[in-house]
């Protein structure tokens, strides 16, 4: 129950922050990416506020050794910069530029009734399925630990 509540609360904070910061507006995101046009640097400050907070607090959190309500932190276990990572990031970036949506704002924008997402999100789901590693034990594509087999509570 407390795990459920904190997941919901974290989602609320995230979605509230995205909308407040203007990131649910794809035109504003593209105005950041358009460095040769009338540039809107807002997105840089969103990232500075968000990554600044994690840079400051993540080390303190990890120093605890384990989270409150799980046996361990579920973090990436790969550290090498490889072709798969870079080509994936490049494909993502191109799509991000074309429409101005990355996954968070695309999902959050559903709540605002943005009709563009009815085209974007189904294609996004197909792309996610397509981009997954096709080896055994699929579903390990994320940043979080690929080694997890038995979730505990």
């Amino acid at each position: 129950m407390k795990r459920a509540a904190v997941a919901l609360l974290a989602g609320l904070l995230f979605g509230f922050g995205l909308q407040w910061a203007g990131m649910t507006d794809p035109v504003k995101v593209q105005a950041f990416l358009d460095v040769t046009g009338p540039w809107d640097p807002s997105l840089a400050l969103v990232m500075a506020g968000a990554a600044g907070t994690t840079l400051l607090l993540f080390p303190l959190i990890r120093r605890r050794g384990r989270p409150w309500w799980d046996v361990r932190f579920h973090l990436a276990e790969r550290w090498e910069v490889d072709a798969r990572l870079l080509s994936g990031a490049a494909l993502f970036g191109l799509g991000w530029g074309v429409a101005g949506y990355c996954p968070g704002p695309a999902l959050a924008g559903l709540a605002l009734g943005n009709p563009e997402l009815w085209w974007f999100l189904p294609a996004y789901a197909v792309g996610t399925w397509w981009g997954r590693p096709k080896t055994k034990g699929s579903g390990n594509a994320g940043l979080t630990s690929p080694g997890r087999r038995t979730p505990r509570h």
Binding site: G11, F14, F58, L85, F92, G95, R148
Partner: protein, 152 residues
């Protein structure tokens, strides 16, 4: 939803950007501190269906919270009031973009939140490299489509 629309330029909103960014960072800290999880949206949402039963509820609740939070801020008149103008992009471009974003984030193991917000906080070299590449690719796409092809 009020039908107000906008052009292709937006104004710099430094205070809202910093405040919203701070909330996003705090969300990521809360998720790591309480559940030991990385607040990467593509990872959380991407495994909603594939996840084991006990691993699914927190993902679903996070995504529901994400929608409710955006709705709440909008209801309080925070952030942009407008929706993108109808016909800004054709359905074909929107679907192509969605396909690329899904494919690329699954292949590259993360998006703006997983690599940008959390990965940088974890001082991950992979995330720093990925963030530099997707921002550059995004700038390239906008440059070509807006200033060369003239689609955007």
């Amino acid at each position: 939803m009020a039908a107000s629309f906008e052009a292709s330029s937006t104004s710099f909103t430094p205070l809202a950007a910093l405040a919203g960014g701070l909330l996003i960072g705090l969300s990521a800290c809360l998720l790591l501190l309480a559940l030991g999880r990385v607040a990467g949206i593509s990872g959380i949402a991407g495994r909603l269906w594939g996840a084991a039963a006990g691993d699914r509820a927190w993902r679903l609740l996070f995504v529901l919270g994400l929608l409710a939070g955006a709705w709440g801020a909008h209801a309080l008149s925070l952030g942009p009031p407008a929706l993108p103008a109808p016909g800004r992009l054709s359905p074909g471009w929107l679907a192509a973009a969605g396909l690329l974003v899904g494919w690329g984030t699954a292949r590259g193991s993360g998006c703006t939140s997983g690599h940008g917000v959390c990965g940088l906080g974890l001082r991950s070299k992979r995330s720093l490299a990925a963030t530099a590449v997707f921002v550059a690719a995004g700038m390239l796409a906008v440059y070509v489509l807006r200033h060369v092809v003239g689609v955007l």
